[in-house]
Point group: C2
Chain length 413, copies 2
Amino acid sequence: MKIEILTTGDELMSGLTRDGNFQWAGEMLTALGFDVAYHTTVGDDMITLKSVFNTAKNRADAVIVTGGLGPTPDDLTIEAVSNFLDVGVELNQPALDMMTERFRKIGRTVSETNMKQVYLPKGSTVLLNKWGTAPGFSYEVEDTVFFFLPGVPKEFRAMMAEYVLPELKKRNPQMKKSCMRLVKTFGLPESEVAQKLEGVEREGVKLGYRAHFREIHLRVSSFGDTTSEAQKLMDEFLDEISSKLGHHIFTTTGEMLEGVVCNMLKERNITLSTAESCTGGLLSHRITNIPGSSEYFLEGVISYSNEAKSKILGVPMALIDSYGAVSAQVVEVMAKGVKELAGSDIGIGISGIAGPGGGTPEKPVGTVYIGWYSETKGAISHKFHFHGTREEIKLVTVLNALDMIRQTLLNNV
Amino acid sequence: MKIEILTTGDELMSGLTRDGNFQWAGEMLTALGFDVAYHTTVGDDMITLKSVFNTAKNRADAVIVTGGLGPTPDDLTIEAVSNFLDVGVELNQPALDMMTERFRKIGRTVSETNMKQVYLPKGSTVLLNKWGTAPGFSYEVEDTVFFFLPGVPKEFRAMMAEYVLPELKKRNPQMKKSCMRLVKTFGLPESEVAQKLEGVEREGVKLGYRAHFREIHLRVSSFGDTTSEAQKLMDEFLDEISSKLGHHIFTTTGEMLEGVVCNMLKERNITLSTAESCTGGLLSHRITNIPGSSEYFLEGVISYSNEAKSKILGVPMALIDSYGAVSAQVVEVMAKGVKELAGSDIGIGISGIAGPGGGTPEKPVGTVYIGWYSETKGAISHKFHFHGTREEIKLVTVLNALDMIRQTLLNNV
């Protein structure tokens, strides 16, 4: 069964809006085992729409169309479908009732312009929209089924789950049950992850790689005659890749790295504070993105200047003079300083040269030290040489700092 | 002249890679006045590729194809083109010479697998790749010109500029000269920007809206018989929209809000420090993304706890007890405290409830205070009620803080 996804809208063609619906649907359908063979995008133009409906009908078994169901003049989908099929439109009473009720709740009535949204092509099946205003519909043309859905991402996703997926599965009775997981790794380039996983691929399991800055994400799908068979295959497969990638895997359930770190802090009842120089607050920003982080994240200091490092964190000026602000000695004392200032269990200190200026032959742009201090482990620091733009160096530094916290906690603080 | 953009690759179809090339090219070509009529994406499959080449030939005058020019077995573009056109391939000596030289520099030789990249369809015109390994090529089929370019974004963009744009312009001699500008606004919803700009549209100017979180970006293109005519039209148009949107416009040259603020600080030789609570370091992170920010950004404090607010910033506990940590009184003292700690000209204090927990009937989630302190202006603070997720509330708070700095500086500190 070949699927075509057809996204419409001038704002997509002009690059002013990103086609997130296609990316989301492509990932989901592919992971579920469907064959997404074609993706087409066109603007709001009647003749073009008719022509791509025809092309899609001739090459695909199921066509998912998004957009053009709104009330404005550039919303042409219903008219284009009706032209393409050479059928008229008729009032769909359930769609009108739902829209009337929705508007009533917010004190509005259905206007003349909205009425065009509930006149659907004759012979179509309405797909009621519980998440927004514009109803969708489906239509069978010869051997091809078309689904017309709104372009608003929230509504599109909900209606995909509610109407399209069950229908696609029904039309593919031979299709297996599936399980999906998002596994994330840090600290290995994609080629090395692929090399370590050589030979793991097996019948009934599908593996897709996605590089997400310095993280490598693995989209794993497993298939079986029953859900529990698919689940069993998934568990076995996750066991095997875990044994090959070890501590590089930080989640098998799709969480962000800071989420994993924050969960560890919370579970172990450990508090943290940070002293950042070159990362300028990005580490504390990422940590405080996690709800409830005020329970374990106590304080952050962005000690951009040497004076701040000395005055707030108590780094002796003599130490900075001897070793430089970017040094193992200084980040360890920064970590200890902020730990004591905040009264937390762990302190993290970061100092480096994010560039583009500020590099020297001994300490070129991308030189970064990350320090740790806790009573049980004492002072630890690591030196790094990163490459990239200023923002990339900040980001990779923060990922390494988060991973350093994770790894050190794994080894028991 | 109808243009089709055809992006290829299994990783695009499965949603594992975002189709950034299309979005970039769509925005650029549309802004230049070209008619990007179709966008198609397909996976690495010979039969599908041939069929979409044929569809594109029949409906477009120029087709830009990306991807599939690499050395691996799933790189099928050359073979698919050669099948589609029913022509053989032949060695392209300039492409081989360039690849040989490129490899020589990094101590490699051209391998058997790489050789397939320099055997191009007979009758094609090579597009030498100075930015990577895979050569591109163009081919005329009946009235349609095809351009085959690598999928690596950096190479794709460079080759679009070097080869494709000049050729498209040559084929459109009647096409006007153009000017492009990216205008960014803050503080108004899209509907209000559109309302204020009602009636400004005119012959020779194209205006596209893009909502970028709480900023509204305007992509403006102007067209004329000569570049200076287009430029004159642009200047007049920018004057007019500036008079309508006033201080809501923070740039007409595409800079980020923090870039505008940092330029103002630098030009006026003013130093800044920040005390953040609910934004957790995001403000200092955004400011320190700007190269050279250490010249005017002195220190940041993330005073998540009341203890930190009191101990580091000198906010009296009695003040917190009387008014609460989220109050005008506290952010003003935080701003003053960090200004004095850092010895900067301006201090900014932020306190609020980012949620999802922590809200009360009097101060629900989304309540945020932003405070300013400087010797010349004294203490200023504003209260906000934001909506959204935790991350959205952090982000909109930081945008408002940056804009508050910008506006206050505009009124002379």
